[in-house]
């Protein structure tokens, strides 16, 4: 199974995502932003970093990259795409996920371990987790304050598209557990079809207990399981609730 990790100029978590795939015993390959070839990847990872310097807005330039048109096409066929941090920001700018990012509530970059609760364990990204399981995964961003208009937000809530929320260590969703001011403590959402996930926390940084947590492995393990279930024909994905 192949993980394709997109490299934009300014990506800096590309190697980490690559390593995480390897830790999970999978093959990984880099996909250059100027190429349109996904090289047969089963999953595409848009990694964290500062694509194109994040000039203008985070992710605003990356959406025009040649590789993005291939990713959009891949996603429209049901291909699995995960955007982490800057990757999430890019997915929002590219219209693959709804909503937008604001600067963090405290207007500062924040890097720390946070707890997130699995809100939907019936997805290609969380099927190895249990419902409401609390994962410890770090964040590192200046713009992760998720925003969407009320209708979009209700839509996300009602169709089970909210995959992760910031929570306390015991799993409560409280304002104090929200590091950046995201609406409804949102840490990660997926597309209506359930094959595109954007999340601000970095699961690739939580794959080795030496670094403080290995909960991120559950997300990669879920992807691996989802792909093996999909088989070669790549049928429709496990449906969202």
């Amino acid at each position: 199974m192949k993980f394709g990790v997109v490299v934009f100029p300014g990506s800096n978590c590309d190697h980490d995502a690559y390593c995480a795939a390897e830790i999970m015993g999978q093959e990984a390959q880099f996909l250059w932003h100027e190429s349109r070839d996904l090289q047969g990847s089963d999953v595409v990872i848009l990694p964290g970093g500062f694509s194109y310097g994040d000039y203008l807005r985070t992710g605003a330039i990356a959406r025009f990259a040649p590789i993005l048109s291939s990713i959009k096409e891949f996603a429209s066929r049901g291909g699995l795409v995960i955007g982490i941090c800057n990757g999430f920001q890019i997915l929002l700018e590219a219209g693959l996920l709804p909503g937008a990012m604001l600067r963090n509530r405290n207007l500062k970059f924040i890097c720390r371990q946070v707890n997130i609760r699995v809100e939907n364990a019936f997805t290609s990204f969380t099927n190895a987790c249990s419902e409401r399981q609390v994962l410890q995964v770090p964040i590192a961003h200046a713009e992760g304050n998720y925003f969407a208009d009320p209708d979009t937000l209700i839509g996300l809530e009602n169709s089970g598209q909210i995959v992760f929320r910031y929570c306390t260590p015991s799993g409560e969703i409280t304002p104090e557990a929200n590091p950046n001011g995201s609406l409804n403590n949102i840490a990660g959402i997926m597309s209506r079809k359930g094959n595109v996930l954007g999340m601000m926390p970095h699961p690739e940084r939580a794959c080795n207990p030496l670094l403080g947590s290995s909960d991120g492995r559950l997300i990669f393990a879920s992807l691996i399981r989802a792909i093996s279930l999909m088989g070669a024909s790549k049928p429709e994905l496990i449906k969202a609730r």
């Binding site: 100029p9 390593c19 890097c111």
Partner: protein
């Protein structure tokens, strides 16, 4: 072409004797461009003219040293075919003038120094010093100007966001450092940036121009008018009056995104095998890189400025040669293989232009529009730059040797209050507000991040751990530069040792006032001696570093502040320990406990954080570290960790034992019960900052084995108490002295810095 007047020479910070030397070297009057070139290359910042004679005394050899001082960074061998390159550099003056860009470009500059050696940067640390950020508190030794806390907070906020801006985007974790607050840094903040990278041993690159006829290629950002004379006007003179505003145009502007591209492109270009030598353009920009590369390679470099990528039209040769625009590198490629290099840079969207060639004649030759605008022998700019053995005179002490306040016996309640006060002092309190703004985890190697004695990185390639710590103590050095410098080396090394790692080598950043003052040169001399003594005793060679003089404003200098960065290696990263008490029921031991007389205590107590924070006073001398014992304590601690006996380890430093124990309680909310014996003085026992002591925890049934091993080092082991409970309980002579809940201590410790900084 303007003829060179005495006034012009003075504006270039060259003294008449130096100008005379220029005339002799050239045998003619210099052009204005040449005058500019001499001025930057002979500036204190680039030439080390006041410090060179002293720096020679530092030990620079050791079995692990692959590259000592003189290159862009020092290199040590960590085994398994890998080396690590590391260095520390100051960006003090720019950070005062423009905190955000000053600090950001400080980080950018040190990162380039690392990857120009062929090493991929994997860690950043920063040693920061500011004026007090709280209105009340210690006001400094006699004669210190009134504290302007608002101003200091502004500088702190700017510096921290500048570092975050650069490091986070570049994609290297900022994993440690220090933040210290003293009145003397109010108008002279110190920003010392450290970076470390790793490379394969057979893939190291040097800043040498080799092979006559080879193309000299300029890569990276375009040259603009920013940072002209940064090295000579900013970093090589003191501030006065409104300089803070007026010198702003001398500060460079950084673009971390561009540097990230430059990093990837340079490392890739190096892999082609077509690169002969490479050097970054930092201080003194194109001037420094061309003459140094020629100098080291025994060749010359001839360039045509018309080919230099420029941000604006009409730049003069003077401006192009002296610009300190960031994110630029100069490399020499093999003739005939240039295209391989260009291809890489094209892929990353960067300029790569042949601007000249390597020539046989050992000169720097510069043309513009085909006309010769400068031709200077390399040696004149590098090896033969002026060197001064400046006069030295020991100054009068301005603080007394004996206590300036009466040290009363304290009640238990008072001692508890004192502890809380120390835990909430900005210098001791958690630096979370600062380091949470840094990406501390990118690259997924950070086994131990900020907030520990030393940071520890996992080296994926070898399975090793790399421990690193930055330490300095200006207050100690102010009271006694030699003792203070010895302590800085000892503490930095000890911080590496308590992780379990063996210290291998050091880099140093020496921050001082105006070297033209004999008493400042005396401080410098003493500090170098102190570092030499300690590095020799602990067998830690110095592989490079940086000197920053002229940290003065309106005639007032900073405390002499050497900062030591020590790197150590641990064979298996998993075997490290941290300072946190991991569980209840462990025995807390103190390695290297030693007794000092009441009289000595009263003198050294004046250098402590307690004297400053609680008594709001300063007197006496810093502790006189016994380097032999220091060495044994560290070696013993490492052996105990390797033997798997030790569950946690933390050294005793700022704030003494009481603060050290409290810090160990916070990580897992495991408290401690501590017994002070009847023959001790509780105040001294709790708050004295005696060096060469390490607190470790072990299982009860391994106390004997621990003592046996310590005995082999001829070290005493004192039982301090046991871990457990949710408070810190201290008893004296079997009577309860005080008890403080962890929650109370932790709350103050975690929130104090933020509360002080976020105040508007």
């Amino acid at each position: 072409m303007p003829s060179i007047t005495a006034e012009l020479v003075e504006q270039h910070h060259l003294i008449p004797e130096e100008y005379q030397k220029i005339l002799e070297i050239l045998g003619r009057e210099p052009t204005i461009t040449e005058l500019g070139i001499f001025s930057v290359m002979w500036s204190e910042h680039c030439s080390y003219k006041s410090s060179r004679v002293h720096l020679k005394r530092l030990p620079t050899r050791g079995e692990a040293v692959v590259q000592g001082p003189g290159e862009n960074a020092g290199i040590i061998d960590i085994g398994h075919g890998y080396v690590c390159a590391f260095k520390i550099e100051s960006h003090n003056h720019p950070s005062f003038v423009e905190p955000f860009q000053g600090a950001a470009t400080g980080v950018g500059g040190i990162l380039r120094d690392i990857f120009t050696m062929g090493a991929r940067p994997i860690a950043i640390m920063d040693s920061l010093r500011f004026g007090p950020i709280a209105e009340s508190g210690f006001a400094g030794p006699p004669g210190t100007k009134p504290v302007n806390a608002y101003f200091n907070r502004r500088i702190l906020r700017g510096v921290v966001s500048g570092i975050a801006h650069y490091g986070n985007c570049f994609g290297v974790p900022t994993i440690g450092g220090e933040a210290v607050f003293e009145p003397c840094y109010q108008n002279n903040p110190l920003v010392n940036a450290f970076a470390l990278g790793i490379a394969k041993k057979d893939q190291i690159f040097y800043g040498r121009a080799g092979g006559s006829g080879n193309p000299v290629i300029y890569v990276g950002a375009k040259t603009g008018k920013d940072g002209i004379h940064g090295a000579s006007l900013l970093a090589s003179s003191e501030f006065s009056g409104s300089d803070g505003q007026q010198k702003r145009p001398n500060v460079q502007v950084g673009d971390p995104f561009l540097e990230k591209l430059l990093l990837e492109a340079c490392l890739k270009a190096m892999q082609t095998g077509a690169v002969v030598g490479i050097q970054d353009m930092g201080a003194a920009g194109l001037t420094c890189s061309t003459c140094e590369m020629g100098g080291r390679g025994g060749t010359g470099i001839e360039i045509e400025l018309d080919r230099v990528p420029q941000r604006e039209t009409g730049m003069s040769s003077y401006e192009i040669m002296l610009s300190e625009s960031q994110e630029r590198m100069l490399l020499v490629a093999q003739r005939g293989r240039e295209e391989e290099v260009y291809q890489v840079f094209r892929k990353w969207g960067l300029d790569a232009v042949e601007i000249g060639t390597v020539i046989d004649k050992p000169v720097l030759r510069v043309r513009q529009h085909g006309e010769l605008v400068a031709e200077i022998p390399n040696d004149a700019l590098t090896e033969e730059a002026p060197v001064y053995n400046r006069p030295i005179a020991s100054p009068q002490r301005i603080v007394p040797l004996d206590p300036s306040v009466r040290i009363h016996a304290r009640t238990g309640d008072e001692l508890a209050q004192d502890l809380l006060k120390l835990l909430s002092a900005p210098a001791i309190a958690s630096k979370r507000w600062i380091y949470e703004q840094y990406d501390t985890m990118v690259r997924t190697n950070t086994a131990v991040g900020p907030g520990s004695d030393a940071a520890l990185l996992h080296v994926k390639e070898t399975g090793q751990g790399l421990a690193m710590a930055l330490d300095g103590n200006g207050r100690y050095c102010f009271l006694d530069p030699r003792r203070g410098a010895r302590l800085a080396v000892a503490e930095s090394s000890r911080n590496v040792s308590v992780t379990g790692a063996r210290p291998l080598a050091a880099t140093n950043c020496l921050n001082f006032g105006n070297p033209e003052k004999p008493e400042i040169m005396w401080q410098f001399y003493e500090v170098v001696e102190g570092i030499r003594e300690a590095c020799e005793a602990l067998q830690i060679p110095i592989t490079g570093g940086n000197v920053s003089f002229y940290n003065e404003t309106d005639g007032r200098g900073i405390y002499p502040t050497p900062v030591l960065g020590i790197v150590g290696v641990l064979n298996r990263v998993e075997s490290h320990v941290t300072l946190t008490f991991p569980e209840e029921g462990l025995t807390i031991l103190l390695l290297g406990k030693h007794n000092i007389s009441q009289q000595d205590f009263e003198i050294i107590f004046g250098s402590s954080q307690y004297a400053q924070t609680v008594l709001q006073s300063i007197w006496g001398l810093p502790p006189d570290v016994d380097l032999e014992r220091e060495k044994k304590v560290q070696a013993c601690c490492r052996q105990l960790i390797q033997a798997g006996l030790v569950r946690s380890a933390h050294d005793i430093s700022d704030g003494g034992l009481a603060v050290a124990v409290a810090e160990c309680c916070f990580g897992k909310n495991v408290g401690a019960t501590i017994e002070i014996a009847q023959n001790e003085n509780p105040l001294q026992w709790l708050f004295s900052e005696d060096p060469s002591q390490i607190m470790v925890t072990v299982h009860l049934d391994q106390v004997a084995e621990t003592s046996r091993i310590a005995g082999q080092y001829n070290l005493s082991v004192a039982v301090l108490g046991t871990t457990g409970g949710n408070s810190l309980k201290i008893s004296f002579d079997r009577q309860p002295l005080f008890e403080v809940p962890i929650s109370l201590m932790k709350n103050l410790y975690e929130s104090a810095l933020e509360a002080a900084i976020e105040k508007i």
